[in-house]
Symmetry: C2
Subunit: 419 residues, 2 copies
């Protein structure tokens, strides 16, 4: 069989370890004689449509190692969801023209449930069109909300960062509480699901260890019960640490981040659920409050990556190349958990139909009975995912992250006319 080229693209929010997946894809693909060139699409699917394909052949093996420890997305990513081929046939045809022009036989799409959906559509369209393509999705999302895989690369590192940060900040608050901040609020990512919020629960054990209260997006904000819990925690311990998911909603399903907070000019505030909770606590209980918003810091914190997460990020990249070579069109390498303690897992193929556009919520059994913490079940699930450290090398006191200037393959087609 003559070698064909491989195109890898990143999609959606990047993570601390998605470049480890990219590096694993490149390394694995280089080992196969059936793969020719290895391209990375610039800014995700946009680069595929625009025929902006980074040629990775100049990346030396030392650089490939450095790529694996550098956060962000080396080729760039994007938040673009393709329409159905029925609604927008031209886009899919363009994709196949680009693939044909560069003899792309393997398309690996690294993203979340939207990307799985896109990969599935491309797989089907190519098949219908008679274009020979193996399309494989690679899981990635800090939100950990993909079906078909026990965990998602990117999540374990955020989980470790947030649990560590909560443990650290709580020690600070505890030391100062008598004359300073009594209630500390930290807002974590997770617009629709509480996986990251739940991970914060690993910072402590029992009701006297921080975080004392977690507000999950899966539970409508129970204002009175929450204030009572804050009050009694402060009365008992002198302080209270609260973790709030950015996706927290009120009883009417409205995001708390959107409830009645405007600046002096009447514009909706950029502040989120954490700020709303902080202000409510201060206003209602009259307690000194501080709040933190780690925002992108949490998903880019490669300096505190989970080794488990990093290994899984690599493993799905390698497996995706194996799947591609095996002709497993429309599949995704998923992580199957074999046991919690010791933690054992393996890679299994998952049909994209089981992943596309679905969202795995935090199971109700993962919440503590009062809804403000995590259960033993949640701990058993979460604990292995943050296991192990994987520090990047440091230089001059800072992580030695690299930037990579990769040339673009020469264009062969006319420019794409974007809608």
């Amino acid at each position: 069989m003559r070698p064909r080229n491989l195109l890898y693209a990143q999609s959606g929010g990047v993570t601390a370890v998605i470049n480890a997946t990219a590096a694993a894809v490149i390394a694995a693909a280089r080992r196969s004689r059936r793969i020719g060139k290895i391209f990375g699409a610039r800014n995700g699917i946009l680069g595929a449509l625009r025929e902006e394909l980074h040629d990775t052949s100049r990346l030396q093996s030392g650089e490939l190692k450095a790529l694996a420890w550098t956060p962000g997305g080396v080729f760039g990513s994007c938040r673009v969801k393709l329409k159905d081929p029925e609604q927008d046939r031209a886009t899919y045809e363009r994709l196949l023209q680009v693939f044909a022009a560069h003899d792309i036989g393997y398309f690996l799409y690294n993203g979340g449930n939207d990307s799985a959906d896109t990969a599935l559509k491309i797989a089907r369209f190519a098949k219908q069109s008679g274009y020979p393509l193996v399309c494989v999705a690679i899981p990635k999302t800090v939100d950990n909300d993909l079906e078909g895989t026990d965990s998602c690369p990117g999540f374990g590192s955020v989980a470790k960062y947030i649990a560590t940060s909560v443990r650290e900040a709580a020690l600070d608050v505890q030391a100062m509480a008598e004359t300073s901040t009594k209630v500390f609020v930290i807002e974590v990512m997770g617009r629709h699901t509480g996986w990251i919020a739940a991970a914060a629960g690993l910072a402590g054990n029992g009701r006297d260890e921080a975080p004392h209260l977690i507000l999950f997006p899966e539970r409508p904000f129970a204002e009175e019960a929450f204030f009572e819990a804050v009050k009694s925690t402060v009365a008992r311990l002198g302080h209270c640490v609260v973790v709030v998911s950015e996706g927290l909603r009120d009883g009417n399903g409205r995001f708390l981040a959107e409830t009645g907070h405007k600046d002096a000019f009447g514009h909706a505030q950029l502040g989120g659920a954490g700020q709303v909770i902080a202000e409510l606590v201060r206003g209602r209980l009259g307690l000194k409050v501080h709040w933190a918003l780690p925002d992108y810091l949490q998903r880019s914190a490669r300096h505190l990556a989970s080794r488990t997460d990093l290994e899984q990020a690599r493993a799905v990249g390698e497996a995706a190349v194996r799947f591609a070579l095996a002709g497993m069109n429309g599949q995704m390498p998923g992580i199957e958990r074999l046991s919690d303690r010791p933690y054992r897992w393996r890679i299994v193929p998952v049909p994209l139909e089981k992943v596309a556009n679905r969202e795995k919520k935090l199971p109700a059994a993962f919440l503590r009975r009062d809804g403000f913490g995590i259960s033993a079940k949640a701990r058993a699930y979460l604990a292995p995912l943050i296991e192990g450290e994987a520090y990047p090398p440091f230089r001059d006191g800072l992580p030695d992250y690299r930037s990579f200037r990769l040339p673009l393959a020469r264009k062969k087609l006319k420019a794409w006319e974007e809608a």
Copy 2:
């Protein structure tokens, strides 16, 4: 000479490494036959007044090691500034009563410029009263604004954390900028001085590397120049990373955090300068903005401590005990820099008069000519302070921080009547 007891107290905001100072004080004091018991005041000076003195004798050497890698403040700290003895003689008399009741011959006060002032007043009052006491201040502040010392323990670790976080988040923003966030704003600590903001500048080099713009409290916010700089950075690079000091002020000297931002109920917002800048950028330039507020995460991030900072935190603790034994009343061990590269430093005695109530601003020569970045001079000063890593041990995927339950010495006096 019969042994006398030592009292150590923490003051003001705690840091990632202040417990390393505490551990060094305890270890050094244990080695001297002239020191009997070693107490730690509960919640700083308040514990001294209330006669709440933790007895550290039960701390085993393994625990002392763990204390040195645990952030927060082991005995608790407080934000309390004593009045002058002329205005509030009773408080100082009470202090000496507590000292006498527990035969305190050495008082070590670990804090910033307020604490140096307090230590000086106590030293003088004891002398006037004929109470035999050696009072030594130990430098500590993430703000790095103490006179008499080249750097302040606590600062180097925040500096390393912020520079690392900016470098990481910038890679995230860069990868996503085409279809997502164009301007990322991060607010850092430093109410009066821009040392932490300046440290963020270590994340990159040259005008194309993040952070692209830094807003210092030493420079009034130059709105138009700032917007022009944001616009041109986004035009050139596709994104822009902005670091804002919490203490940024407008041309009239008002904190930006207080300018016209109220919630729906008319209350001043908890959000700070970072949020104001983020909203201004969005409102004026119409660009998608995200902002981060690491808050206490930055000063408690022991997982990313600077080894240099940790060594200095230990060194000032050890030196303080030496100073105490040498009868160096009213002095502080300061850090004198001998050279930048290689970085060499030593401990020198500094009279508290030179430290008390003063504030070391960022020198004008540390700012880049346009005021939005740091100069080569600033780099030469800052770079050594973030050198070296000093990871705490991890257990179950998280830093193995400990809590210490130390007994309080039995009270011998009547309760203190607090004002």
